[in-house]
């Protein structure tokens, strides 16, 4: 199957289990489609250069820097954003753990951190602290100094 599109074309993106039809230009990034077309603003734009991880989402369960990923490439894939982690009012274990560990200061990096950590625990349910550092290697935080974020992931592992 080949889908041919010119300029703005009709695309459906599946975000957190819901299909969102939209018009997209080829050059639109996934971050922009999620924030401006779907209207979910938990995913942040930091560097817009694939360096800081504030825009991290999961595509088919794997972490992706959505600032530097074409939205049209995500057709037919399952996209998960920070809004998809909680079950109603019930926070995910990682969300609860980062609150309890005090791993949030300004909060700008938090959604990306949680998406990377979610992907990490999905592929490695009991990582060492060193493996957690590698798993969060693509996420920058300019407030906390990382210690409490790492503590939070360790906490989520132990309460599982």
């Amino acid at each position: 199957m080949t889908i041919d599109m010119n300029n703005a074309s009709a695309v459906t993106l599946r975000v957190n289990g819901t299909d969102y039809p939209m018009l997209l230009e080829t050059e639109r990034n996934l971050l922009g489609a999620i924030r401006d077309e779907v209207g979910l603003t938990g995913t942040k734009e930091g560097c817009d250069d694939c360096e800081c991880g504030a825009c991290m989402v999961l595509v088919d369960g794997q972490p992706v820097n959505s600032c530097s990923y074409l939205a049209v490439q995500a057709q037919g894939r399952e996209i998960t954003t920070i809004e998809g982690l909680a079950d109603g009012q019930q926070l995910s274990e990682l969300q609860a753990a980062i609150l309890e560990a005090g791993g949030v200061q300004c909060g700008f990096c938090t959604p990306g951190m949680l998406m990377s950590a979610t992907a990490l625990l999905d592929r490695n349910p009991s990582p060492t602290r060193e493996e957690i550092k590698v798993g969060l290697g693509g996420n920058l935080c300019r407030c906390t100094g990382y210690g409490r974020i790492l503590d939070a992931v360790e906490r989520a592992v132990t309460i599982r």
Binding site: P63, S68, L70, Q73
Partner: protein, 299 residues
């Protein structure tokens, strides 16, 4: 601007013959476009859903790694980690989990950065690159793939479809190490890969060393066998290899390092890569990546 998703190789080759540029993860193409380095091509064809390009096939007289196999898989695949360990070392150092998830082997080698991590390992392991077009298939030695920084020798209409590696042998070992200032989202300041074959007594039968980020392309160091073959690796051999690597490098100065610093440190990296390759060939387990296992690079 047009965009198509190919699900078969024939669809992709037809689109490329019509002038489309292939895109897998987009980690070079999209980042470059957003940075203003180069606008996105007018026509794109996505190749990341073509199943046959995502296969790793071992056995027989060649090991075939599909062009859209990503770095996350290279660093954990048992065939790669067990037999082509330098490539796993390199893949594990690339970017972050997200970068390693979207970035592909074909993309890395075709992007042609002289600082690429996967290139030097592929050179020392004798890789061939498979290029396909609607007109047919050809293979070339990977050393002939690059002609200048950010450039490759593929013709218009050709798609990199696989990297081909010789089958693993007995008493083989390989390693890739790099100098880096931080552990994640880093580009090699300099890098070196080594591959060796030993005899039953542990003497070196065959050795190759290649260097990253010290020349306009990845380069192989000439004359390594004359320096180390016929005996077990010793301090004279280590020093001679480091000197050869430094003297054959032609590095530039840029924001990451001066030419003099690169020339010196690439010798150190070549010596360490050779050392790790020999230890692996002798049966020692050194975990992937060597940089972390042996504490090389950023603390």
């Amino acid at each position: 601007m047009s965009f198509a998703i190919a699900t078969t190789l024939d669809q992709a080759l037809a689109a490329i013959a019509d002038g489309a540029r292939p895109i897998a993860g987009g980690s070079d193409l999209v980042v470059g476009a957003r940075h203003g380095k180069a606008p996105l091509p007018e026509s794109l064809v996505a190749i990341d859903r073509i199943a046959e390009l995502a296969e790793i096939k071992a056995g027989g007289d060649v090991t075939r790694i599909g062009a859209v196999v990503n770095h996350a898989r290279l660093m954990t695949d048992p065939t790669v980690v067990g037999n082509y360990t330098a490539l796993a070392d390199a893949a594990a150092l690339v970017g972050s989990p997200a970068t390693r998830n979207v970035g592909t082997l074909g993309g890395n080698i075709m992007n042609g950065s002289p600082a690429m991590d996967t290139g030097a390992p592929l050179v020392v392991m004798g890789a061939q690159v498979e290029l396909q077009s609607t007109g047919g298939t050809r293979t070339l030695s990977i050393a002939h793939l690059w002609d200048a920084p950010g450039s490759n020798t593929a013709a218009a209409g050709e798609l990199c479809t696989a990297v081909l590696l010789p089958p693993p042998g007995d008493r083989c070992g390989s390693a890739y190490v790099r100098l880096e200032y931080r552990r994640a989202m880093e580009i090699a300041v300099v890098g070196a890969a080594a591959a060796v074959v030993l005899d039953e007594a542990g003497a070196i039968v065959n050795a190759r060393v290649a260097l990253a980020a010290v020349a306009p392309t990845i380069i192989e160091v000439d004359g390594i066998e004359d320096l180390v073959a016929g005996r077990a690796l010793d301090d004279d051999g280590r020093a001679a290899v480091a000197d050869a690597a430094s003297s054959q490098a032609s590095p530039i100065s840029d924001m990451r390092a001066s030419d003099a610093y690169r020339r010196h440190t690439v010798g150190v990296m070549a010596r360490r890569a050779l050392d790790a390759a020999v230890r692996r060939a002798l049966g020692e387990e050194i975990a992937v990546p060597v940089n972390r296992a042996l504490g090389i690079g950023a603390a």
